[in-house]
């Protein structure tokens, strides 16, 4: 067991070196991005993220202290994001798609690290929501997924709702739809429900084929007494025999049967 423990710091060093090679603008900082996130296994009530200058550290034998600075971390994420729009970062550029893939992978990985830390410490902070929204707007599905995971840890707010409706429901990444629909459950108020119904309806009709099918497939998750008539009307205007209509009609039937007892 001791040997394994000793090997783990070597593992992080390898990751650090890898990151160092993949991103040459501001090399020192890149390593710091990976090391900037502390981790705690403690579970407890929601905590607040330390302010940008408040720092916590702990020194264990032979291990350097690490610090958590959200704004600094955010700046690093933005630095990577900027690589999308130019070809100067040292990511694999052996073919046109490899470069974008590498940038997205790096961003998603770092967002996942942030989410993991936030989740383990039950942190809630508007700045985390802001980061989630910012990266959810990027077209890369992996980055959207990581941003949605981060947003999932945060309290509801209207901007987050708009972001999910626009950047997930309105995108073509159908794999994120089930989780996005779960995220929308945070917004039971009538005004939000109206916005949700409008966005879903629009995408059931004119969204990406895959998204509209997934929305219809999971429609039992959002049909309720207050919007049943709305979706019933939407269904009547969908093409007959379409996959979307088949799923939506089945869900409407199921809702009716469930509530009447069959």
């Amino acid at each position: 067991m001791k040997n394994k423990t000793l090997l783990l710091p070597l593992f992080i060093l390898a990751i650090g070196i890898s990151a160092y090679r993949s991103f040459d603008s501001n090399k020192d900082r890149e390593v710091q991005v990976d090391r900037a996130l502390p981790t705690s296994t403690s579970r407890g009530p929601a905590q607040t993220v330390p302010s940008s200058k408040s720092k916590v550290s702990k020194i264990q034998s032979k291990i350097k202290p690490v610090q958590f600075d959200l704004e600094d971390y955010h700046a690093r994420l933005l630095k990577i994001k900027s690589c999308y729009s130019h070809e100067n970062c040292r990511y694999d550029n052996s073919d046109p798609r490899a470069y974008e893939f590498a940038v997205g992978k790096d961003l998603a990985q770092k967002l996942n690290q942030l989410k993991s830390y936030v989740s383990k410490n039950s942190l809630e902070d508007p700045r985390l929501s802001q980061i989630a929204r910012e990266f959810m707007s990027l077209p890369d599905g992996r980055v959207k997924e990581a941003a949605l995971d981060l947003m999932a840890t945060q309290a509801p707010n209207p901007k987050n709702l708009d972001s999910v409706l626009r950047d997930i429901i309105g995108s073509f990444n159908e794999k994120l739809i089930p989780q996005a629909l779960m995220e929308l459950n945070k917004y039971p108020d009538p005004q939000s429900q109206k916005a949700i119904a409008n966005a879903i309806s629009e995408n059931l009709s004119t969204g990406s084929f895959r998204v509209r099918q997934k929305l219809a497939e999971h429609s039992m998750n959002y049909i309720n007494s207050s919007n049943y008539d709305h979706y019933n009307a939407i269904s009547k205007n969908l093409p007959v025999n379409s996959v979307v209509k088949t799923h939506l009609d089945a869900a409407l039937t199921e809702y009716r049967m469930k509530n009447s007892g069959g």
Binding site: L8, P9, I12, R35, L37, P38, T39, S40, R43, G44, P45, P50, V56, K58, Q60, I63, K64, V66, Y84, S85, E87, P96, R97, A98, Y99, E100, G104, K105, N112, S116, S122, L138, D140, G141, R142, E145, A152, T153, S171, M182, E183, N185, K186, P188, T206, G207, F209, Q213, E217, P239, V240, V243, T246, H247, A250, T253, E254, K258, G261, G262
Partner: protein
């Protein structure tokens, strides 16, 4: 908040839950029996690999047979191929943009179509399927194997979707790749390199740059010093020269396959509707099929016995004995053919100018059982007589292979309208639900045989089984299926099944049960397009005196948790989530039945409200 580097390392290990999108796939990932075609010929450009395991090659051949070209094809074979593929690309690109943007002008639709013609030339020389002999089927793989299909979807960024058939199934492939191009097409007018939304050339080029290099490269075509500027120049050259037209005999020929239907992921699609003497009636206010739909308006046209008629409610009908016999879903066309001993392949729209005749809507479960020899019924148990691939859909991606001699319960069936009555059964094997091939009219007895029902995991109860009511409101007991009410049976009541009845195209399930001295039918969910059976009743496999499952709820301070498909944080997320303490939902929606607990710290749970099962880390649960 005190931390150590060691714990951080641990977090790095823990955060590796798999993305639903990407993977560092190696070159030529899953590229079996690679062949090379040509560097300059339409239809068989560069390299190709077996369609398996991304899709079932026999089903791909059945559906897309007209656009398969021999590897190293002759010029006449290439011309035939291009004459078939051109109308498919023309129609799918038009259908796509009109579906996404009903307000698109005719000029925009044409510009989008022209862009896609050039795109499939640039990406693959219009290549998709090819073969080296009649028994195999291959698909183009470009960019050292990373690019899949005619629009070259990259397996590094789209790993999961390609694994699920987004490369191999041409219809799904178009829908998938067009999403990517369309997003760039829509974004382009907001970029400085596109002077106006109707500057079609710059919009086409910008969307191509983004398609090729990502959205960050959308204006790459204006940067001649870009490392990839040659791609933009080559695209423009193809766009201008339109060389594909040299191989297309008739640019107005209708597509030979119904690509609009196939692009929505369907596998049983009617032929493209043939032109009718009069335009079809507008599909206004469709209503669910009933036993006695309104007859069409009177007219003089005679019905033919050689075609199916599709009406505005979506019914597919065949003419027989001065009436129309109909089924609600074209996937059952083979059953109608079997019943009438015909081989109808063409479908026409059912206009009001036909003579008025009675319409009879049939039940798929009865028609298919009566007319398809050897077909197992839903709920039957079958034993596999050989190892059979389990696929996500009949034609879809391989999930696993079920070893021979296993017995499984049939949850649905599909019979292909191929004159051979090729059939597939929907089954659950382990944690995977999909379709197994079960032979044709002549070979079905080589693939499966009936099996005793007590040897299989059941999802539909049998006569003699006990079931427990799970619907929150209880379930009404009725004199007939859907008929007059007798009484309501409360949730958690245990009743014995006296009969099982399936009806309609959605496979609505009814059990005939005895409760408080009265016998009657209870509704127990629908099986198609998605199964809801598990949310209505639970089959009670336990002895009456056995203890009930322990109940739990999510205790972790979260809004919701994913029901993982396996016992590791590295698993790909499932599509099912359950609420956590921070989400406001009724208490009944939090209840989880703990089915088993593993020594590694995972619990398999069943979400009572939805019937969905999955895995959650035990530490995130608390007993209730």
């Amino acid at each position: 908040m005190k931390i150590t580097l060691f714990l951080f390392i641990l977090s790095l290990i823990l955060v590796h839950s798999s993305s639903g999108f990407a993977r560092n796939t190696p070159k030529y990932w899953n590229c079996n029996n690679k062949v090379f075609g040509s560097w300059s010929s339409f239809g068989n450009y560069a390299e190709a690999c077996d369609v398996d395991p991304f899709a079932d090659r026999n089903e791909m051949k059945r559906i897309y047979g007209s656009v398969i070209v021999p590897n190293k094809a002759s010029s006449s074979e290439v011309d035939r191929y291009m004459s078939e593929m051109y109308p498919i690309v023309r129609e799918v690109s038009k259908f796509y943009i009109q579906s996404r943007k009903p307000s698109a002008s005719a000029a925009e639709v044409k510009a989008f179509q022209d862009a896609i013609f050039a795109l499939v030339h640039q990406e693959s020389f219009w290549s998709h399927y090819r073969n080296t002999n009649s028994s195999n089927l291959k698909m183009i793989r470009g960019d050292v194997g990373h690019g899949h299909g005619i629009m070259q979807v990259d397996d590094r960024s789209h790993y999961v979707s390609l694994n699920a058939g987004a490369g191999a199934n041409l219809g799904i492939h178009f829908a998938y790749a067009l999403d990517i191009y369309y997003e760039a097409w829509q974004a382009a007018p907001s970029k400085s390199c596109v002077p106006s939304p109707t500057n079609w050339l710059s919009r086409t080029r910008a969307a191509y740059s983004a398609y090729n290099g990502g959205m960050g490269s959308i204006c790459r075509f204006t940067n001649s010093s870009s490392k990839w500027a040659k791609n933009d120049r080559n695209f423009l050259d193809k766009f201008n020269k339109r060389q594909w037209l040299n191989s297309v005999a008739n640019v107005n020929k209708p597509a030979s396959i119904n690509i609009a239907c196939l692009s929505q992921g369907k596998e049983s699609c009617p032929s493209s509707p043939a032109p009718t003497p009069n335009p079809p009636s507008e599909p206004s206010q469709p209503s669910p099929p009933t036993q006695q739909p309104a007859p069409p308006s009177s007219g003089e046209m005679e019905f033919s016995k050689n075609v199916f008629y599709q009406n505005s409610n979506g019914l597919f009908c065949a003419f027989e004995d001065n009436r129309l016999l109909c089924l609600p879903d074209y996937r059952d066309a083979a059953c109608l053919n079997g019943m009438l001993k015909r081989n109808i392949q063409k479908t026409v729209d059912f206009s009001s100018n036909y003579k008025t005749v009675p319409i009879e809507v049939l039940d798929r479960n009865r028609v298919c059982a009566d007319s398809i020899s050897g077909l197992a019924k839903i709920g039957d148990s079958v034993r596999l007589l050989k190892s059979i691939n389990l696929r996500k859909t009949p034609a879809g991606a391989l999930l696993t292979t079920v070893p021979d001699n296993r017995s499984l319960q049939v949850l649905d069936f599909e019979v292909k309208n191929d004159n051979s009555q090729t059939r597939y059964y929907k089954v659950t094997y382990g944690s995977k639900t999909g379709y197994i091939y079960a032979g044709s009219r002549t070979s079905q007895s080589d693939w499966t045989s009936k099996s005793a029902s007590d040897k299989v995991p059941k999802y539909i109860a049998d006569v003699g089984d006990s079931i427990i009511i799970k619907n929150e409101a209880g379930i009404n007991q009725r004199q007939t299926a859907g008929g007059a009410l007798i009484q309501r049976i409360p949730k958690e009541t245990r009743v014995e099944v006296w009969g099982v009845h399936l009806s309609g195209s959605s496979n609505s399930l009814y059990y005939y049960v005895d409760f408080r001295g009265a016998k009657g039918f209870i509704y127990a969910g629908q099986g198609h397009p998605s199964s809801t059976y598990a949310s209505w009743v639970e089959i009670d496999a336990r002895a009456p005196e056995s203890p009930t499952f322990s109940l739990a709820k999510v205790s972790d301070s979260v809004y919701y948790e994913n029901l993982m498909s396996c016992t590791s944080e590295a698993c790909v997320k499932s599509e099912d989530f359950v609420p956590g303490p921070k989400l406001e939902v009724p208490a009944s929606e939090r209840v989880l039945e703990v089915l088993q607990i593993t020594p590694s710290g995972w619990s398999q749970v069943r979400h009572q409200a939805s019937g969905k099962t999955g895995w959650i880390q035990s530490q995130k649960l608390e007993a209730i």
